[in-house]
Amino acid sequence: MTYPNGKVALADVNVAIPHGDFVFLVGPSGAGKSTFIRLLIREQLPTHGHVRVAGKDLLRLRRGQVPGLRRRIGIVFQDFRLLPNKTVWENVAFALEVTGASGGRVRERVPQLLNLVGLHEHAHHLPTQLSGGEQQRTAIARGLVHDPAILIADEPTGNLDPVTSWEIIQLLIQINQLGTTVLMATHNQEIVNAMRRRVLALENGQMVRDEAAAAYEREY
């Protein structure tokens, strides 16, 4: 993947993530983690090679099919990206409303998700009235509204204290156990080391390690 300014962000990356997997994506800043994620959600197209997500070749995807792809992928960020003037309920409902869901569907789906992430009691709070962990739970609930096949978490614990980070990881594991593939980009060594899951390590745009049940750093 080469950017228009000539910078090669990713090269010779060959990875397959099976359905239902839980994968950590690690590497220093600028290693290509963000580009990797942007390719998966078709924010960008690869200059060479192919990207297949949820059975779709993203290069062949027509413009009108992109929203459909995005509904198969949930995404959460380090900075939560909640709408500050909407309540927890409204933030989650928004993702349904803008995709044409009926009022009945919204009233059915939002409570399910708020229960899943444990925020049903905070439904009518604004993001500013929530802790960081609660905000991230809201973002996760929003990411799951369309029951996606894949949940991408880009540094989801980057703004959180260690205890809260663990709560978020527990939630992601729970979601993974319900059948959703989870890809989590992180710098959090402690979590990666404790979890012993598959680790993809990027460095300077190269995939330097793809190892099952691995630690944050190379151990051999």
Binding site: I41, R42, E43, Q44, L45, R63, G64, V66, P67, G68, L69, R70, R71, I75, R81, L83, F94, A95, E97, V98, T99, G100, S102, R142, G143, V145, H146
Partner: protein, 299 residues
């Protein structure tokens, strides 16, 4: 059902967007009103002058005053000669008595009685031929030919008035259309800017909409409708204004500009439709341009 939800969603979001940056939206709406008021004024003036022109066109005739006491045979010969001109549609002889009758009638129309100073008055009008040309512009040529005839004392045409009025109408129409065009450009610019600011102020929402898989139409249409709303509100306000001032204007159109009463009754509807279409059109065009230039989809 899904389409109805989409329309409902877009209208609600457009309405919220309109009031979110109320200053900008109202300023854009004000320029729409300015443009439409100008357009309405222009349309009213042009319609009035056109009616006047049509009225004169119907009357553009060559009036040839005949020599007093012209024998009937000479008169007959002159009429035959004039009727033979290719650019003459009809010729009518008006006797002095008929001329007097018309004068009396026109006084009565104004609610007055013609006063000739008593029943034994010797005042007498002249006999004339009223010649209708096939084309209003042919009246000068007819007049020229007639001026050679010994039986004709004096020739009157309305060519000069007709040309003057036509010139004024064309001038007003040109200046008016240029002015409306310039204001329309300003309006377009205002709407483009308003919608651009709306798009920028909602950048976060747009990004989230993209990420959760909202289709392009869900992202775009609220903004397009927001511009349409500026045009629509502007049109409704202007139509209300014109409807209010139309009542005193209508009699003027009928009496001064000779606009047929039937046309003047329909005119308010016609102009309302025009204002509505132009307001809506400019609003939609401006927001469409804005959405196309500032909502470039980053796939």
């Amino acid at each position: 059902m899904a389409f109805v939800r989409f329309i409902g969603f877009s209208i609600v979001r457009a309405w919220q967007g309109f009031w979110r940056n109320a200053m900008m939206s109202l300023a854009a709406t004000a320029t729409v009103i300015l443009m439409l008021v100008l357009l309405a004024a222009l349309a009213i003036v042009i319609a009035g002058l056109n009616s006047g022109l049509e009225f004169i066109e119907g009357k553009v005739a060559v009036t040839a005053r005949l020599a007093d006491n012209l024998p009937a045979t000479d008169r007959r010969a002159l009429i035959d000669e004039v009727e033979a001109y290719p650019d003459v549609a009809s010729v009518e002889y008006v006797s002095p008595e008929e001329a007097m009758g018309r004068l009396r009638d026109s006084y009565r129309e104004q609610g007055q009685e013609l006063d000739l100073g008593g029943a034994d008055s010797t005042i007498k009008l002249f006999a004339s031929l009223e010649i209708a040309p096939t084309d209003p512009n042919a009246s000068s040529a007819i007049a020229n030919r007639l001026s050679d005839s010994p039986h004709v004392v004096r020739i009157l045409t309305k060519q000069a008035e007709y040309d003057a009025l036509l010139g004024i109408i064309n001038l007003i129409r040109t200046i008016g259309l240029v002015a409306v065009g310039l204001v329309a450009l300003t309006v377009l610019f205002m709407i483009i800017n308003t919608i651009r600011i709306a798009v920028y102020s909602r950048a976060n929402e747009i990004e989230i909409m993209r990420l959760v898989g909202a289709s392009d139409s869900f992202i775009r249409w609220p903004f397009i409708l927001e511009g349409v709303l500026c045009g629509l509100i502007g049109a409704v306000v202007t139509i209300a204004l014109v409807a209010t001032i139309w009542e005193p204007i209508q009699p003027v159109m009928v009496s001064v500009f000779q606009m047929p009463t039937a046309v003047s009754t329909r005119f308010l509807t016609t102009i309302s439709l025009l204002l509505f279409a132009v307001g809506l059109g400019v609003g939609a065009l401006g927001s469409w341009i804005s959405v196309r230039s500032y909502l470039v989809a980053s796939h």
